[in-house]
């Protein structure tokens, strides 16, 4: 593709950072579709407006979602960009692939689409960027033949995602990969057949480090935690100090609740005041380990700002043991969906419904007893009013 066609885009090729322009120009010679998308983007830079139309309804038989229609508003000028639909595909739990699986995906998309991928979208899906309506059924058949299935879009359950968990990380409090895998398979209907008031995301983090940002991005956040005491190995702690580490600056002064102390010889932890922030454990992994009674905290309601402002998830179930086949998790999910189904308004996320309805009423509806630990973040007053409160006032 000649440089002169896109002088503004070419500015992005300068400087130390990689640019999508470089990758796309490499493909533009073999894929006219990619060339036209770049030319259209150049025009957008000149006109200072997008030349994609808003939305579009396309899909494959039996599925109400998974493909997002994208059309150019200038198909005569950019025929290659006339259709540029996005295909979402369920990612494997923790994004672990064999190289063969990646090759299969790339081969399929070079054959039936632009060949451009986004690994991964912010929900976690494998994203195949740019194909035409005619290629949707063929691409879908090719994907399912290799064992893949479409991801969620629209007012549906979105493909659940999780951190790398026990496969790569010592802090996983439970097998978050298995939870994610099982929930994804169990709820394929909810992913493929939009029937909710709005989108619903599930993200599973193995420990409070929350590497998938479940607390900020998932309507239903499952985050690993422990009930008992942090395991301490004083010998290893002293070794850290001999190696030059400073427990005061790396742990004691950074502890949000001042629950940890170092007297020069020994670490002591006030476990009742520990809020599971992971700071000290991350700093001294050989000396400090999470407790032995492990499970997860379930939090509800995070979302980005669209209809209303952004929300973080807040505690719904302070502690749940997470054991296969995860019936307790599914049972809770389905009770939440039922209440949302009955009371949710169009495009109202679950977190917004809880705010509108009030936590107390919501808990009553899903049949969960209020608990003082149901807070936005540790060290906060609960926002559930107990019956005793009303009696007193």
């Amino acid at each position: 593709m000649s440089a002169s066609e896109t002088p503004l885009l070419d500015e992005l090729l300068k400087g130390p950072w990689p640019s999508f322009v470089k990758e796309m120009k490499e493909m533009a010679d073999t894929k006219p579709m990619v060339r036209d998308v770049l030319r259209q983007l150049e025009k957008s830079y000149v006109d200072k407006k997008t030349h994609w139309k808003h939305g579009g309804i396309v899909g494959v038989k039996g599925y109400g979602g998974g493909i997002i229609g994208r059309y150019s508003d200038s198909p005569d000028e950019f025929p290659g960009a006339a259709h540029f639909h996005t295909v979402r595909v369920n990612q494997p739990a923790g994004w672990f692939y064999s190289s063969q699986a990646l090759r299969d995906l790339c081969d399929i998309f070079e054959k039936y689409g632009s060949g451009l991928t986004n690994m991964h979208g912010s929900t976690g899906d494998i994203i195949l960027l740019g194909t035409t309506t005619d290629e949707l059924e063929p691409i879908f058949s090719a994907l399912t033949e290799k064992g893949w299935d479409l991801g969620g879009s629209g007012s549906a359950l979105r493909t659940p995602s999780c951190c790398v968990g026990p496969a790569r990380c010592e802090w996983a409090m439970f097998d978050c990969l298995d939870v994610c895998h099982e929930l994804t398979h169990f709820y394929q209907d909810e992913i493929h057949r939009p029937g909710f008031p709005y989108k619903f995301k599930i993200k599973v983090s193995g420990c409070p480090n929350d590497c998938v940002s479940s607390i900020a991005r998932a309507d239903f956040s499952i985050i690993g935690t422990w009930k008992d005491q942090i395991q301490i190995n004083q010998e290893e702690m002293r070794k850290y100090v001999e190696e030059g580490a400073n427990p005061l600056t790396s742990a004691v002064l950074l502890c949000p609740t001042r629950a940890i102390e170092w007297d020069g010889k020994e670490i002591t932890i006030d476990n009742e005041n520990c809020v599971r922030c992971m700071q000290c454990i991350n700093a001294f992994p050989r000396a400090l380990k999470p407790g032995k009674e492990r499970g997860a905290t379930i939090l509800l309601g995070a979302k980005a700002p669209i209809v209303q402002g952004a929300l973080f998830s807040s505690v719904l179930i302070p502690f749940m043991e997470i054991e296969p086949p995860y019936e307790e998790v599914r049972d809770l999910l389905e009770r939440i969906w039922d209440v949302w189904d009955d009371h949710g308004e169009n495009k109202e996320r679950i977190g917004e419904l809880v705010e509108r309805m009030g936590k107390g009423e919501f808990l009553d509806q899903i049949g969960v007893e209020p608990d003082v630990q149901m807070v936005f973040h540790p060290r906060e007053n609960p926002y559930v009013f107990y019956d005793e409160y009303y009696e007193e006032t």
Binding site: G56, G59, K61, G62, R193, G195
Partner: protein, 111 residues
């Protein structure tokens, strides 16, 4: 895009939805159903008519959950079964296909 029905050319948008909703009649519905490979049965018409009635009243297509509840009520089945039934009748999804056949505006914002 356009579609010829009884000798008249009907304008469709790029997704095959009616451009002018007022043109809708049962023959056009049948022709639109054909573009979607849907063979209209009594059950299909029940849903299409419900959608039209709802749209007339509220000037908006119902949420899928409202449609699913109506289907559950009409057929005396539960919510999960009614979702299955909707997709059996309209394999590309009730929001997409049933609304198209009923001549309702295209559902928006699917990202």
């Amino acid at each position: 895009m356009s579609l010829e029905v009884n000798g008249v050319d009907i304008d469709l948008d790029e997704d095959g939805y009616l451009v002018d909703r007022n043109q809708w009649n049962e023959d056009i519905a049948l022709a639109l159903a054909k573009t979607e490979d849907v063979e209209m049965s009594e059950k299909h018409w029940e849903i299409v008519n419900f959608l039209r009635k709802y749209y007339e009243e509220y000037q908006i297509a119902p949420m899928v959950k409202i449609l699913a509840k109506e289907v559950a009520k009409l057929n005396n089945i539960d919510k999960r079964e009614s979702s299955k039934m909707l997709y059996n009748l309209f394999p590309s999804g009730p929001a997409k296909q049933a609304c198209k056949i009923a001549g309702l505006p295209k559902p928006t914002g699917c990202v």
